[in-house]
Structures are given as C-alpha cells and as structure tokens.
C-alpha cells in the first residue's frame, strides 16, 4: 500500500460568471467607486489629518465650483473625448495606436501655422474650414505611416506609433522656435490676439459651444460607423482574427491603412480644436499627455463612444479636483495623484468581479 497524504483544499476558488445583468454590473461599479472614496478618505486622514469630506468638497469645487471652472472642465472633457473617439477604430482593430499624442500635435502645428500665416487673408469661417481640413489630412498621413508599415512589412505598431510621437514633439519644438513671439519668450504666444482670426466663435453664447458640438457629432458618428457600417464590420473582423478576415476576402492591408488614416485624422482634428478652439497657441505641451490618457478612456469604455463621454468627464474631474486640493490644502501634487490612482484602481478592479466571482471553501457552487 502507498502512503496517502492529503493535499490542501483551496480556500477560495475563482469561478467565471456566465453573464451578468446590466443592473448588477453597474451596481458593482458604483460600489467600487464608493469603496474607492472610502479608501482614499482613510488615506487622506492617515496622511494629512484632514477631514476627507472637506477634501472631496474641494475636489468638486475645483471642477464645478464656478461657471468658468464648469466650462473649462467641459472643454477639457471634450478634448479628451475627441482623442478617445479617434483611438476607438484603431483599438477596435487591435492596432495599438499609442501615437495620438503626436497626431494631435501635427494637427495643432498645421492649425497654428495657417492661423499665423493666413489670419488676415480670409474670413474666420473659411479659415476654420481650411485649418480643419489641413489638420485632418496631416493627422491622417501621420497615422497612415505606421499603418502602412504594419500592413506591408509587419512592423510593430506600438513602438512605431510611440516613436512617431517624439518626431512630432521635435517638429513642434522647431515650429515654436521659428514662430517665437515675442522674441526670447520661447513661446509662440497667443496667435491673432487682436483680430481673433481663426478662433472658434462663440456658439449659443458659449465660448466652448462649438467644441462641444463638433466633438459630440464625432462621437455619435463614430458610434454609428463602428456599429452599422460595412467598414466598421471589417474593422471588427480584422480585430478579432486576421485569418478570418482574409478568408472572407477582406484586404487586411487596406483596412489597416484606411483605419489608421481615420484614427489619425480624428486625432489631428483634436489638435485643431486644441489650438483654434482652446489655447490659440502651440507648444510641445498642447497635447499634454491626453494622447495617453485617452487610451485609458477608450479601453474603460470598451470602445463605446457614449460611455467614453462619462469616462472622460470622470478623469477630467479627478484631475481638476486634484489640482484644487493641492493648492487649497497645500498638499503635495503626489497626494492628489495617489487619490486618482486609488479611484482608478478600484474602477478597473471592479471589472474582475463583473467577470468572475469567488467561491469559498465548502460552499456550494450555486451562487445565483
């Protein structure tokens, strides 16, 4: 006879859920946000001895405290949303476009350059159309370059698009030096400050009305494109399996290049909005890391452009709130970053509990 030793029974087991109701999924997500607020509250109190409620109040003030703050929050949300909408088709195709930062800058350079050079030669509406077209086309080209390399020579798009960012940043630095105003400031300054030629006009009496309108139109358009169009279907097929796409007679090369052109064009358009619709200047920080933040937005929203609106708003809210508490309570910037980190961690972590559940030792595996 053999000696029989008994192994250990696992304490907790992970069981995959076979579907979850939408209500339950959102309940889990809301619970995650609440728990994250609780945990960050504990963190705030432990580190700073401040009242967490006061800190949250300050965060809210930072984002929505005054009418101007509300509009700045909306403006930044739209900016982030626009880039995320641009990333959606590329990511849906499983093409890891992390070059939005550069595509935005290229659109921005073109817009700023045209604004400077032609500010006095044509009316603002015409100028806006010219700048929009230029930024769309150049963004598309900037996106098509890594797309074409991937399609033809199978280069790694992650590295390629990342490297293209640095090229774009250098180009921007060059243009800033070229267009420096006033001399020695190392900035371009506000372009056409007196004439406001090429600036977004107020819409419905709101400075940023046009930003909101354009970006929401793009979001709706992209939703329809991805969900109902033939091209959107091709993108989804290529994203799931290139072999299946080839089998079905889809030209993977062509779809890859075309989709990256669309992705780059919309990101370039975001650069147009950033310059003509918000800052009226250009600098290497015009994109400001939003090209990367937008990746988080696109993923968290599972490429659903309507959900992206909410996620963009949440991220911008957290960012504005963090700046506010840093200045109001004299906290280090890192403290607010930690809070943002905790909240994002819980939101991302909640997805695990939406897909899986834990079953304790000895319990029945029913769980319904």
């Amino acid at each position: 006879m053999k000696e029989h030793k008994s192994g250990h029974e696992p304490l907790l087991r992970i069981v995959k859920r076979d579907g979850i109701s939408r209500g339950k999924a959102y309940a889990i997500r809301i619970a995650a946000v609440l728990i994250s607020l609780l945990v960050s509250g504990i963190f705030i109190f432990a580190v700073t001895k401040l009242n967490p409620a006061a800190v949250y109040q300050a965060m809210f003030d930072g984002a929505f405290g005054t009418k101007r703050r509300v509009w700045v929050t909306i403006r930044d949300t739209m900016m982030l949303l626009c880039i995320a909408v641009g990333l959606a088709p590329a990511f849906k195709m499983r093409f890891w476009n992390i070059g939005a930062e550069g595509q935005v800058l290229i659109g921005g350079i073109l817009t700023a350059g045209i604004m400077r050079a032609m500010g006095n030669t044509m009316s603002t509406p015409l100028l806006l159309i010219v700048m929009a077209c230029a930024s769309l086309i150049c963004g598309a080209v900037w996106g098509m370059i890594p797309g074409a390399f991937k399609a033809i020579w199978n280069t790694n798009e992650t590295l390629f698009t990342l490297m293209m960012n640095y090229v774009a940043i250098q180009l921007t630095s060059y243009c800033v030096a070229l267009w420096e105003n006033p001399f020695g400031s190392n900035t371009v300054g506000v372009i056409n400050q007196k004439t406001q030629a090429g600036w977004f006009p107020a819409l419905f009496g709101q400075t940023y009305g046009l930003n909101v309108l354009l970006v929401l139109l793009l979001a709706v358009g992209m939703y329809v494109y991805l969900k109902y169009s033939k091209q959107g279907f091709e993108i989804a097929v290529v994203g799931d399996s290139e072999n299946t796409a080839r089998y079905a007679g889809i030209s993977v090369k062509w779809v890859t290049i075309r989709t990256m052109a669309i992705s780059g064009a919309i990101c370039g358009f975001a650069g147009f909005i950033a310059v003509a619709g918000a800052s009226h200047t250009i600098s290497t920080s015009t994109a400001g890391g939003r090209g990367f933040t937008a990746i988080i937005v696109a993923w968290l929203a599972q490429f659903n452009t309507f959900v992206m609106i909410l996620i963009s708003l949440l991220l911008v809210f957290l960012q504005k709130g963090a700046i506010q508490i840093a200045s109001q309570f004299n906290l280090n910037d890192y403290a607010s970053d930690v809070i943002t980190g905790i909240i994002l961690f819980f939101i991302l972590g909640s997805e695990f509990f939406i897909n899986y559940r834990l079953v304790g030792h000895g319990k029945e595996g029913e769980g319904k």
Partner: protein
C-alpha cells in the same frame, strides 16, 4: 484476476463539477478503475470525459463528491498531488520542450538528488524494454514524429512511477499501424497490473483494446459494461440515449464532370518549408473526394491554396469549370478570395481552424452569417436583416444550442460552433464545397447530419472535397480518396473498393521511419 478482492485503484463517488451556474460538466458521477484493466471512457463531445479525468489529474477541483485511491479518501488539489498518488495523464496536446532530448524532457521538473542524464537514459531504456516502446533517449523532440512524442509523454509518467494512467484521445494523431503498436504497449502495461483509462471516439478501438467500457452522457454516468458483452451499436445507443443508424447512404455519382482541375501545385509555408509538392488531381461535380493523411501532411495548405489564401509556386494551375451556361473555365491561381468570388466561382470552405479562420469568435451568429454577405447591397451600411434570417434558419435546421443568435460564437461548444460554420457555408449554394475535419468535435448524431448534408450537396452536382481523419468514415462516405503523405499525393483510390490497410500504407508511403512529420 489476483486483486479481485482488493479495493479498486480509483473510485470516484458522486463527483460534480460545474462551470458557471448553468453548465454542469459532471453530475454526480460514480466510476471505478481497477488494476490490471483497461477502461474505455466513452461519450459524445461535451459529455464531460476530459473534465472528469482532469479532476483525477489535479487540474480541476471537484465541487462535490469524493475520490478514493485504493479504498482511502484523498484530496487531489494539484497535479503534484495526483503524481504522489501515482496518477499520470497523457494529454491530447503534448507538453514537451522541443529543443530538449527525450531524457531531458522526462526529468524536467523532477526534484531528484543529482542530475545524471546517463542514469535517466538507462532507466528509460529499462522502461522501454519492459513494455515494448521504441525510443532513443538522446533524440531531440523536434526531430520526433507525433507517435514518438506520445511515447515520450507516456514514458514521462511511467518514469515518475505512475501506475494509474489516463490517455486522452491518444489515437487521434496516429496512423492505424501506430495505433496497433500503442495498443500492444497498453496490453503489456495491463499485464504489469497497471490501471488504465483511455478516452477515444473510435468504437472499433474501444472494442479492440479495452476490458470494460464506461459511458457518460451529458455529464451523467450512464453505466459500464464488459467489452466482450457489447458491440458498437449498443455502445452508440448508450452514448446517444436512443437508437441511431450508423449507416451512411452513398449513392453512385450521377454523370460526374471535372469541376476543379489542380495541376503541379507546390506550396511553401512562411518559414520556407515545402508543404505541398507537385500535387495534381481533379475534383468532379457530383462526387465526394476524400482526402486522407496523417495530420499535417498538407491538407490545410491544399484547401487554403484553392481558396486563394496561400502563395503558390509558379507553374501551378487550378482551373475551375463551371456548369454549362454558367461561368466559363476560370484560372484560380493568382486570385485573391475576393477576386475568386467576383469571378462567379461559388467556393464554400469549412476550414480546420473554425474560430481562427472560419468564424469571428467575438461575434454572434448573425454577424458571422454577415461575414459572407456584408458586401451585398449598395451603400455605406451593412444589411443585417438577411443574415439574421439565415442565422435563425441555421439555428433551427441544425439545432444549434445557443442562448441567442447574438451570443458570441466563441462561447458555444465546439459542436455548435461547427454547425454555425457548416450551416453558413452550405447556405451559399456552392459549386465547390471544401471541408476540413467537418465532424471533429461533433456528437454522433450531428456527424451523421453533416454526412447527409454533404451527400445532399453531392447530389446537387456540387464537387465536395472532404478532408477527414477517421478512415472508417472516409471509406463509407467518399467516392474517391486522395491520400496525402508529406505534401505529395501518394495515391488516389476508389472509396468503394479500397481497404483501410491500403490507405494506411499510402499514408506513410514516402515517410522515412522516424522523420519529422
């Protein structure tokens, strides 16, 4: 038997395993495995055989029930636990390191004192001599044929002292001759008083090698019988739950005319390895042409080359002859799948890799039907109404089990995935229908449904090309059988007059003994 009164080697009592809340893979299964006996575990796909064995091997942990080894209750929480009880499982997919030798693979992961490969090799030879294996301990795995790799897997578990062996579909990748050799080894191990469980779908193998047959159906234990008291028909009835006719109707081809003429087809894969070597044949309309061969003999490349998915070496021609008054002759070499389609050649293709090539896993049935038709109609938007109707038809006609036609096909069982694919391809009204392993993973009932569908297509004057692995089926279904061996055509035989032995010999005709397959 000497151990008649000893407790069974393994006893499973009321074992239950669930995946999610809806899928019950094993429902209170009782099973006994005795020493000195070969037990066949039989059941349709999805009946829970592999799940049950995985619990014995420590890969899954049962939700309910207990396992007894030699009469004592044990807990098997990991593969290491399973080994400590002498249980070894030979999986369907080999788990070997390609660049290591047989001996190195055998010792991999063993925590022995010292590391003496010579001693290991000596022990491997000892095991080989004892049971009748043939293997060179110094040979690298990448130089081995499939059957040699399998031998290494078996030696690996024997080396660790396993005396309860589980073989999960070991014959699926073997030629009839290799299968015979494996069975003789198994009989030697039986004589050495080891307990063995073999999972196989081929009933004649069950009858040939096992002493006892246990049947699972939909996760439930149906019963066990002595092999000598049963026959394939009875076993099928047990598996399916009602009487099934195991006959394929094979009408004589009516007026077969050449539909597809393949000449001098040579294909290299992406790594520069020659996969097809000067292949020539003709597929006739109104006929089922079977393609036999060991897995990886060029079947995949052949079908993909015809479908326009493989780069073809110059000098080849694939000519399609349409029906009279339909499309004229059309050269397919050099055309993309889309160009072939636009030329009016209705080519239906059920590829081997269903989710990796034939279907889009993350999409539902409707969108997968759309894959073939999304270009139809003018305009920017895709028409989903027609595919939706087709999806409902296929679901009904082939009895696809799915929560809804929008449910991702990746999450359906293998058999249902296949039904979706075959259903869509046949719905295209093809003039050439190519299928690779069309019934792999399907239960017996559905397999016969597919055979009938193929025969129906043949009677509609379609040229059917059927790549198969089960020789018995090939011999019953096909009008002619083309045998591939190492990328070459080693023979084309008449399906009605040939024998399994003849096809088996052709399958290995050009193969040097022991060369990589």
């Amino acid at each position: 038997m000497i151990h008649m009164n000893a407790p069974p080697a393994v006893e499973l009592r009321h074992i239950t395993k669930r995946f999610g809340s809806k899928v019950v893979a094993n429902d209170h299964v009782d099973l006994e495995i005795r020493r000195g006996e070969i037990l066949s575990l039989l059941g349709e796909n999805g009946s829970g055989k592999t799940t049950l064995m995985n619990m014995l091997a420590g890969i899954y942990f049962p939700d309910e029930g207990e396992i007894l080894i030699d009469g004592e209750p044990v807990t098997i929480a990991s593969p290491a636990d399973a080994f400590s009880f002498g249980i070894g499982m030979i999986h369907q997919h080999f788990k070997l390191v390609d660049v290591f030798t047989a001996a190195e693979n055998v010792t991999l992961g063993m925590h022995e004192e010292g590391y003496d490969l010579k001693a290991v090799a000596a022990r491997i030879r000892e095991i080989c001599d004892k049971y009748g294996f043939v293997i060179d301990p110094q040979k690298k795995v990448y130089d081995m044929s499939v059957s040699e790799k399998q031998t290494v897997e078996i030696i690996k578990v024997l080396y660790r002292g396993a005396d309860i062996l589980i073989l999960d579909e070991p014959t699926a990748v073997l030629t009839p001759q290799e299968t015979d050799r494996l069975f003789s080894v198994m009989r030697n191990m039986k004589a050495d008083n080891k307990a063995m469980i073999i999972i196989t779908h081929k009933l004649h193998e069950v009858m040939d090698v096992s002493d006892r047959v246990a049947v699972l159906r939909k996760g439930k234990y149906i019963g066990d019988v002595r092999t000598k008291d049963t026959n394939p028909q009875k076993l099928t009835d047990m598996m399916v739950g009602h009487a099934v006719t195991l006959n394929i109707d094979r009408p004589l081809p009516v007026d077969p005319t050449p539909r597809l003429e393949v000449k001098n087809l040579t294909v290299f894969d992406a790594l520069g390895v020659k996969r097809l070597d000067n292949v020539s044949f003709t597929a006739n309309g109104g006929e089922i042409l079977g393609i036999a061969g060991i897995a990886g003999s060029g079947q995949k490349e052949l079908l993909e080359a015809i479908a326009g998915l493989q780069p073809i070496q110059p000098g080849a021609s694939i000519v399609f002859h349409g029906l009279k008054g339909d499309v004229a002759s059309e050269e397919l070499v050099g055309k993309t799948p889309l160009q072939i389609k636009r030329a009016g050649v209705h080519l239906a293709f059920v590829p081997e890799d269903r989710l990796g090539m034939g279907l889009v896993g993350s999409m539902g049935m409707t969108d997968n039907m759309l894959l073939r038709s999304y270009r139809s109609g003018r305009g920017f938007f895709a028409d989903r109404k027609t595919p939706k109707k087709l999806a409902e038809e296929v679901k009904e006609k082939l009895e696809v089990v799915t929560p809804s036609i929008t449910f991702p096909v990746r999450r359906l069982s293998g058999g249902n995935v296949q039904k979706v694919l075959v259903g869509r391809e046949i719905a295209q009204n093809p003039s050439v229908l190519m299928t690779a392993y069309a019934v792999r993973g399907l239960d017996i009932n559905t397999s016969y449904t597919i055979y009938n569908l193929l025969t129906e297509q043949k009677q509609k004057n379609v040229a059917v090309i059927y790549v198969g692995e089960d020789l018995d089926v090939l011999l019953e279904l096909c009008d002619r059988i083309l045998v591939l061996c190492g990328g070459q055509v080693s023979g084309i035989v008449d399906g009605r007059t040939t024998t399994k032995e003849e096809v088996g010999i052709l399958m290995t005709r050009f193969r040097k003994e022991g060369a990589a397959v």
